[in-house]
C-alpha cells in the first residue's frame, strides 16, 4: 500500500468518524420531528429507566403524544418532574403531552420525561432499542432509543 492510498484512507476514516459523532438520530412523521430519543442505561437492582427526546411540531395545528411502548419494558409512561422546594414530585400525564403548533417540546432530565417500568433486560450504553410513539394526529411513529450512561443527567445535546 503506498502512502497516497494510506493518506486517502485516513481522510475517509476521519470523515466517517465525524459523520458518526455528528449523528444525532431523528425521526419524522408528518409535521413532527423527533430528535435524538435516548434512554438511560439500567442500574443493577433497579428495573426502571427514563427516556428523553425533543419533539418539534413544524405544523400549524397542535398534536398530542398519547403513549409510548417499548419492547424492553412492561410499560412506558409520560411523566413530569417538578421540584417544589426540595421535594421532587412526579406526576404521570395520563392525558398525554401536548405538542403545540410550531413549538419544540423537550423531554429532558429533571423535567418532562418518559418513564419505563418493569424493564426486562439490561440496557447498556450505545445500544439502540426499538420503541413506538403514538400521537393523536401523526399516529404511530417507530423510533429507536439510544442508550446512554446512567447517573449522568446529560444528553449529547448538553455536551
Amino acid at each position: 500500500m503506498n502512502m497516497r492510498v494510506l493518506r486517502n484512507l485516513l481522510i475517509l476514516s476521519f470523515i466517517g468518524f465525524g459523520a458518526v459523532a455528528a449523528w444525532a438520530h431523528e425521526f419524522k412523521a408528518g409535521d413532527l420531528e423527533i430528535v435524538h430519543p435516548w434512554a438511560r442505561a439500567t442500574l443493577k437492582g433497579s428495573d426502571v429507566a427514563d427516556g428523553f427526546m425533543k419533539i418539534i411540531n413544524h405544523g400549524s395545528t397542535p398534536d398530542r403524544l398519547l403513549s409510548v411502548t417499548v419492547e424492553f419494558a412492561k410499560a412506558g409512561q409520560i411523566h413530569d418532574m417538578k421540584m417544589e422546594g426540595d421535594v421532587m414530585k412526579m406526576q404521570e400525564l395520563t392525558g398525554g403531552l401536548e405538542i403545540p403548533a410550531g413549538a419544540t417540546v423537550e423531554l429532558k432530565p429533571k423535567s418532562l420525561h418518559l418513564m419505563f417500568v418493569g424493564v426486562n433486560q439490561e440496557l447498556v450504553p450505545d445500544m439502540m432499542m426499538d420503541g413506538e410513539l403514538t400521537f393523536e394526529k401523526a399516529g404511530k411513529v417507530k423510533i429507536e432509543f439510544m442508550i446512554e450512561p446512567a447517573g449522568t443527567g446529560h444528553s449529547m445535546d448538553n455536551m
Binding site: 437492582g45 433497579s46 418532574m81 421535594v87 417500568v117
Partner: protein, 194 residues
Amino acid sequence: MTKRIIPVLVVLVAVTAAALGYLYLNQNGSGPAAVPIGGPIRLTDQDGKPFDSASLDGKPYTVFFGFTHCPDACPTTLSEIARTEDEIGAPAKDLTTLFVTVDPERDTPAVLKEYISNFGGNTVALSGTPEQVAEVAKAYRVFYKKVPTSDGGYTMDHTAVLYLMNREGKFQDVIAYSEEHDRYVAKIKKLLEE
C-alpha cells in the same frame, strides 16, 4: 382615662420585650438550623445487619433519602458523592454516606446491596419497617409519598436533599439537588476539615 392607658402600656411593653428577646435569640442562634435536623438512625443495612449511626461517632456522614425505582435524583446524587470522594482522595475515607430508602416495601437489604454497587463510594444502604423509616425521615424533616402510576405500580415523591452531618453527628449543611459538582466538592471538603 389613665386606667385605660395602663393595660395598653402593659401590652406594648410586653410586645417590645418579646420582639427584643426574639432578635437577641436570633442573633445568637446558628442561622437556619433553628429547627434541629437529624437524630439517631437505627435501621438495617444492606447485609441485613442492624445499623446504628452511633457507630459513626467522631466521623462525618451524609444522609440521602431515596429509593431504587428512582429515575433521576438518587442515581445522580449517589454518583456525585462517589465522584467527589474520588476527587478528594484520602481525607474522604472518613466519610460515610447513608442511603435511606423511603420505599422499604420494595427495597429490601438484598435489592439495596445490588443497587449501591452501581456507584462506588463508601455508602451504607438502609431499610427497616415502614415505621422505623418514618421515624428517621421525620427527624430529618423529609417528605415522601407514594404516587400511583397507570401500570398499577407507584413512584415516590421525596425530599431530594443531601444532608451533611459533622463529626459530632450534628447537622451542618445540605446539598440541594440542583447544585453542581464543584459545590459537592467544596461542601464535603469543608465537612471533612471541621
